[in-house]
C-alpha cells in the first residue's frame, strides 16, 4: 500500500468559548487506508472531523486534503454525519436524500438530471435499499437510515469518506453492509476515516488508527498503535476485553 498522506492536519486547536476541545493536534491520514478514530466521550472526535471539514472554526493550525485546502477539494469528500444530526421527519423519500449526494456536482440553481437520478438509484442498489427508494425517511429503521446516508456518499462519487459513528445503533446486517462497503471502497483506491466506538471490532474492521483524547495519543498502523499502554493513556483501558 502506498504511504501517501491524503489528509494532513497541522497544529490544530479547536475550542468552544475559549475552552479548548482539541489541543495542538497533528494528524496524518494515509491514502487508501481504513482509518478509525477512537477516544473516550468528550475526546473531541467529532470536533476533529468537523474541524478538518471546515464545519467548525479552528483557533490555530491548518488542514490539507490531497495537498490542497479543504474548500478546493470538497467535491471529493463525502461526510456521513451522526444519524441523529438531521430531522428524520423531514417530508422526503430515501431516493431524494441519496440524490442530494449529486448536488455537490450540480452547484447553485441547476436541477438534478436523469443521469443524477440513475446514479442515486444505483447507489441505493449497491447497499440493498432499492426496495425502499420511495419510502418516506421517517418510516426507515435506524440501520436503513444509515444505509441511506452511505448511499448518498456513494452517489457523490467521493474519494474520501468521513463517517461519524456509522455503526452506532444499527443492526448486524447493516453493520456488515457498511464494513463491506468500506473494504470495497478501499479496493477501489478510496480512503475512509471513521469514528468508531467498539474496541472489539476495531482490528477486524480497520487497518489504521488514531487515538484521541483532546490530544493525539498515538496514530499509525493498527498492529503497532492498538496497544494496552496507548488505550490506558486515552482512558480507554477498561474497555478492552
Amino acid at each position: 500500500m502506498s504511504q501517501n498522506i491524503i489528509v494532513k492536519v497541522e497544529d490544530l486547536t479547536m475550542a468552544y468559548n475559549e475552552k479548548p476541545v482539541l489541543w495542538d493536534n497533528d494528524v496524518d491520514i494515509v491514502e487508501n487506508s481504513r482509518t478509525a478514530i477512537i477516544g473516550p466521550n468528550g475526546a473531541g472526535k467529532s470536533t476533529l472531523v468537523k474541524g478538518i471539514l471546515g464545519l467548525q472554526k479552528t483557533l490555530s493550525g491548518y488542514v490539507e486534503v490531497m495537498g490542497q485546502p479543504v474548500k478546493q477539494v470538497q467535491k471529493k469528500i463525502a461526510y456521513i454525519p451522526q444519524s441523529n444530526s438531521v430531522n428524520w421527519d423531514f417530508p422526503t423519500t430515501a431516493l431524494d436524500v441519496v440524490l442530494m449526494g449529486r448536488y455537490v456536482h450540480l452547484g447553485w440553481i441547476k436541477r438534478p438530471r436523469k443521469k443524477d437520478l440513475e446514479k442515486a438509484e444505483q447507489a441505493l442498489q449497491k447497499i440493498g435499499m432499492q426496495d425502499y427508494k420511495n419510502r418516506q425517511i421517517s418510516q426507515l429503521s435506524g440501520g436503513q437510515r444509515q444505509r441511506v446516508f452511505i448511499a448518498r456518499a456513494i452517489a457523490q462519487d467521493a474519494e474520501i469518506y468521513f463517517m461519524d459513528e456509522p455503526l452506532a445503533g444499527v443492526d448486524k446486517n447493516t453493520e456488515k453492509v457498511i464494513i463491506d462497503f468500506l473494504k470495497k471502497s478501499q479496493s477501489q483506491g478510496k480512503t475512509s476515516i471513521v469514528i468508531h466506538h467498539d474496541l472489539n471490532t476495531l482490528a477486524e474492521y480497520f487497518d489504521h488508527l488514531v487515538i484521541l483524547n483532546k490530544k493525539i495519543i498515538d496514530q499509525g498502523p493498527m498492529q503497532t498503535t492498538l496497544t494496552k499502554e496507548n488505550l490506558a493513556q486515552a482512558n480507554l483501558g477498561g474497555w478492552l476485553r
Binding site: Y16, Q74, P81, V86, T92, V97, Y103, V104
Partner: protein, 384 residues
Amino acid sequence: MFSQILLFKISDILDYNQQMLITLLITGIACAILGCFLVLRKLSMITDALAHSILLGIVLAFLITKDLNSPILFIGAGLFGIFTVFSIELLSSTRLVKSDDAVGIIFPLFFSLAVILISTFARNVHLDIDIVLMGQVIMIPLNNIEILGIIIPKAMFYMLLMLVANTLLISIFFKELKISTFDPEFATIAGFSSSLLFYALMTLSSFTAVSAFDAVGAILVIALFIGPAASAYLLTKDLKMMLLVSILFSVANTFIGFFLAMKINVSISGMIAAITGATLLLTVLFNKDGIITAIYLRHKNKKEFRHDLLIMHLGNHQTEPDAELELGFDTIKDHLHWDQDAIERRTTRLIDQGLVFRDQTRKIYRLTEKGQLRYNMIKIDYGM
C-alpha cells in the same frame, strides 16, 4: 391629461370586499410557502419574534420620515426584522443563553420599546396597539397608491411584490433550501452556505411580515406563516406537496374566516387566525397518525383481533374430539371466558360474513370453507 386616460383603478373591477379578500388571499399564500421552511427549520418562535419586533423598526423609521406611507418605512422595518434575527442568533451563539431564551429576551425588549416610543412620540398617529396586533383589514381598500399608472391598494401591491419574491426564491433555490433545511452540515460541505440561505429566508420573512403588518397585524401574520405549513406537514410526505397543501389550507382558512367574520360582524383577521387554529387542530386530531384516528384504529384493531381470535379458536378445535365442549353453543363462552352477549355478537358478525356457521346437528359453531381459508391466513399473519 395623457396619464389620466391610462390610469387604471383596481377599484373599477373589484369592490371593497373583493379587494380585501384578494389581498388576504395573496398575503396568506405568500406567508404559507415561506412558512413551510420556517416550520421545518423549527423557526416558529423566531418568526413570532420577528413579527413583533418589526414594530420597533416601523416606529423608528416613522420617527425619521414622519410619513406612514413612505417606502423607507417598509425598507427600514424589513431591515430591522433581519437585525432582530441577527441579535437573537448572536445572543444564542455566545452560549450564555439558550436559543429559546434569546427569543424570549429580544422580542419583548424590542416590542416594549416600540410601545413606549409610540405612546411618547406618536400618540396622534394611527399606530395603535390593537391595530398593531390585529391590523385593519377594513382599511385595505382605502389606502391606495399609484404604481405604473395603476391605482392599487397599498397592502395589495406590497403583498403581491412579496408573493412574487417568495415564489421566485423558493422556485429558483428549491434544491438549496431543501438540502440546507434537511442537513445543514452536508449542505455546507456541498458548497451551499447554510447561513446565507438562512438569512435569505429571514430577509423575505421579515419583509413579508412588514408588508402584511398594516393589513393583518402581528398575530395573524404568525398564524399565516405557521398554521397552514404545520397542517400540511402532518399530511404530506414530500416537500413540494407540503408547499401545495399549505397553500390550499391558507386559501381555505382565509375564505372561511373572511365570510364568517362578515356574517357575524367580528374582526376579520382575528377570525382567520381562529379558523387557522381550528383547521390545524382538526388536522392534528384526524390525520393518519392523529389522536382521534389512533383511538379509532386501536378500537377497530381490538375488535378485529377478537374476531380473529374466535376464528382461531374454531379452527384449532373443530377437528378435535373435544369440539362439542370447546365450541358448543352454550359452552364456548366458558372456554373463551367471554360473556354470552359477546359470543352472540361476534358469532353473528362472522356468520354474516360467511366465515362461520351453526352446526345444528352437533350443536357447535364451525368454520365455513371461507372461514377455513381465513383461519390459514391468520396463522400466517401471526407467524404460527
